[in-house]
């Protein structure tokens, strides 16, 4: 009885799949899916060779500080960093005093209330504050950016495939639309107000090129601020904001893995000892 019902149910599923398969094949022949510009011209990010990549990855503190400067002078005009506090910067080599001074001097103030009147007001940042958002709310952000919303950057390096490399490639990836693309896909011309960037999933990004010329940011450590260098430095900084515990994690990983490899051999030894003389 069970087997008869099973046979019928199985036959029904296979039959419907047969109809579905026939439909899929006939559609694929009569009406094949058109090729798309995104499919053909999208590029995977280049390897930015960040020191944090791989199992042995560690942050380069100098580079993180340069990246912070790029964020501060370029990105922070539009992008928030809402999960990162000023005090976290002590992890990338700043002293408590430097962090306080940096928070104090940050151009965007922290929203709050006026302690005397209770009205909405702003105040200077302190070390325990999160980085303030450049816009009061989403409507304000969209109004200032041609209806596009600049994403928060705290987690951007984990919120994109191959994030750290993606950030570096995207920032230097702006270019004119290739003639070949326009020849093959005349409808795919980059719309007014967007910018062609092959590293962006749909090729047309709303963000204007943020890094436009060498020397745009002046580095204090004497590193030459080429466009590539600035893109890599800010990618390194955003890798840190997304995963501030990366070095602790790698360190704990090595200790655990070495311990566990020894443990595996010990358990194998125990196993052999216990089973000695017992055929199995």
């Amino acid at each position: 009885m069970v087997r008869t019902i099973a046979l019928l149910v199985g036959a029904a599923f296979v039959f419907v799949l047969g109809i579905s398969l026939f439909g899929t094949i006939s559609t694929a022949i009569s009406d094949p899916a058109p090729e798309t510009a995104e499919h053909e011209f999208h590029l995977h990010p280049k390897d930015a060779e960040l020191s944090s990549a791989g199992m042995f990855g560690k942050f380069d503190r100098q580079q993180l500080q340069r990246g912070l400067k790029v964020y501060q002078e370029v990105c922070a005009a539009c992008h928030s960093l809402r999960y990162v506090s000023f005090r976290d910067l002590e992890q990338i080599g700043y002293s408590e005093g430097q962090v306080k001074a940096l928070a104090q001097a940050w151009p965007i103030e922290q929203p709050g209330v006026n302690p005397d009147t209770g009205e909405a007001a702003t105040r200077k940042n302190v070390a325990s504050d999160r980085f303030p958002s450049p816009y009061a709310n989403e409507v304000a952000a969209r109004a200032a950016n041609n209806n596009a919303l600049p994403p928060d950057l705290s987690l951007i390096a984990k919120a994109r495939h191959d994030g750290p490399n993606y950030v570096a490639s995207l920032l230097t990836g702006y270019q004119n639309q290739p003639a070949e693309l326009l020849r093959k896909f005349p409808d795919a011309k980059t719309p007014q107000g967007l910018y062609y960037n092959p590293y962006f999933p749909n090729l047309n990004i709303a963000m204007p090129p943020p890094i436009t010329s060498d020397g745009q940011v002046t580095y204090e450590d004497g590193t030459k601020s080429t466009r590539d260098q600035m893109a890599k430095d800010v990618a390194a900084f955003l890798t840190w904001t997304a995963e501030p515990n990366l070095e602790t994690r790698h360190g704990a990983g090595f200790a655990s893995v070495i311990f566990l490899i020894i443990f595996v051999f010990l358990t194998i030894g125990t196993y052999r000892n216990v089973w000695r003389g017992v055929k199995h």
Binding site: V2, R3, A6, L7, V9, G10, A11, F13, V14, F15, V16, L17, G18, I19, S20, L21, F22, G23, T24, I25, T27, A28, P32, M55, Y83, D88, P151, S154, L155, K158, A159, G163, P201, A242, P244, N245, T248, R249, H250, A252, G253, F254, S256, V257, L260, I261, F263, V264, L266, T267, I268, T270, Y271, N273, V274, W275, R276, V278, K279, H280
Partner: protein
């Protein structure tokens, strides 16, 4: 319960004797996973995975309870509270990565455990109840894993909840009310997040309860073994402790080694980047995909593209649930008296094809829906159902199995090239 030659618990210390009279808990443990449980001597490493699944559940419950101390089950703060766990809670990043990857380890271990049961016929008489309870545990795990994935309230959490609960709306008439009842609203929101959290905390303890029944039911006939032949006498078994505690120890060590490598060196390998973007009902991700352990079932769902009496969507939903529910009938679909696929030359090949088929379905479930992928998915889905519902009942009748060994001991000695009965005496 168990075999007449099983060791008996005899407490020697006065305190243990006292305890045994009042509450024989040590006796229970001794008989369940101690020297009082005789186990076939020929189990291979695939028999580690039951213990590993139990261990993975313990890891999930321990990390989960601590995470719940820091997590805010409210759609306004959920995402930020997870970030605060990652940044501000001491070792919070470790707890969260261990819990997220622990779910993957748990499901991976359970899939191997199920595959072991399929290959060696552990679902057959007299162990049908063990198998049925196992399928119940698997269903509970899937529900728990799905609801857990919603809790961080990222984009994939939100849209996954939207898609999965949307399955119910394919049911005619009552579908939409059921969906609204499940979500507590018309779309996933705070009500859904709250109830998912409540159930995500509850279900692991239900799973633990069903595991107790699963082990209880197992201990009545005793463990199956790679030959599938029944235990005939004392020479066929060894006490669980120390023999299999030692063997499971190796499995546990390797389990933790792989687990540690994942957690510490690529904790986001099995996750989706979009879940680091906070849930946004107004922005649909380009590709909504479930976690890797649901991909084969997702591929089955997507394969039904044609309407026939019912809508294609409803066929897909029925097939997706059916693909798991049919496992409940497996003990009666397979009429072959031979348990182990090692002695079933035809069925063995179909089973190996099934394993590859499920891997193909997993790949298709996560791949783009191009014509080529849809065709492969439809063929693979057809094989999945044909295997269990058509091929298995027929093959199990027509196949001529290879000769079985007379006993476990005979099989063991044949493997070692010896036949002398004197060698069967155990050294313990």
């Amino acid at each position: 319960m168990s075999f007449p030659w099983a060791n008996h618990y005899e407490p020697k210390q006065p305190l243990m004797r006292w305890l045994d009279e009042k509450l024989p808990l040590p006796r229970l443990v001794y008989n369940a996973v101690g020297a009082g449980y005789p186990v076939p001597r020929n189990l291979n490493y695939f028999w580690n995975f039951g213990v590993l699944a139990g261990l993975a559940l313990v890891v999930q419950i321990v990390t989960g309870i601590v995470l719940a101390m820091h997590y805010g089950a409210n759609s306004l703060v959920a995402f930020a509270s997870v970030e605060s766990i990652m940044r501000d809670v001491n070792a919070g990043w470790f707890l969260r990565y261990a819990h997220a990857n622990g779910a993957s380890m748990f499901l991976a271990v359970v899939y191997i455990h199920i595959a072991r049961g399929l290959y060696y016929g552990s679902y057959k008489a007299p162990r049908e109840m063990v198998w049925l309870l196992g399928v119940v545990i698997f269903l509970l795990m899937m529900a728990t894993a799905f609801m857990g994935y919603v809790l961080p309230w990222g984009q994939m959490s939100f849209w996954g909840a939207q898609v999965i609960t949307g399955f119910f709306s394919a049911i005619p008439l009552v579908g939409e009310p059921i969906r609204v009842l499940l979500l507590g609203g018309y779309a996933p929101d705070n009500a859904a997040l709250n109830r998912f959290f409540s159930l995500h905390y509850l279900l692991p303890f239900v799973i633990a309860g069903v595991i107790v029944l699963h082990i209880w039911a197992l201990h009545i006939p005793g463990s199956n073994n790679p030959t599938g032949v029944d235990v005939k006498g004392e020479q066929d078994t060894v006490p669980f402790h120390p023999y299999y505690t030692a063997k499971d120890g190796v499995g546990v060590a390797v389990f933790f080694l792989i687990f540690a490598a994942l957690v510490f060196f690529s904790p986001n390998l099995l996750g989706h980047p979009d879940n680091y973007i906070e849930a946004n009902p107004l922005s649909t991700p380009a590709h909504i995909v479930p976690e890797w352990y649901f991909l084969p079932f997702y591929a089955i769902l997507k394969s039904f593209t044609a309407d026939f009496i019912l809508t294609g969507k409803l066929w897909g939903v029925l097939a997706m649930f059916g693909s798991i529910l049919l496992l409940f009938f497996l003990p009666w679909l397979d009429s072959s008296p031979v348990r182990s696929a090692n002695y079933r030359p035809t069925y063995r090949w179909f089973l190996i094809v099934l394993a590859l088929d499920v891997l193909v379905l997993g790949y298709i479930g996560g791949a783009e829906a191009t014509a080529r992928n849809v065709i492969i998915g439809q063929l693979a889905t057809a094989y999945y159902f044909a295997h269990f519902l058509i091929i298995l009942p027929i093959v199990s009748r027509s196949e001529r199995p290879r000769p079985l060994p007379n006993s476990i001991t005979e099989a063991v000695l044949a493997k070692h090239g010896g036949t002398s009965p004197a060698q069967t005496a155990l050294a313990h």
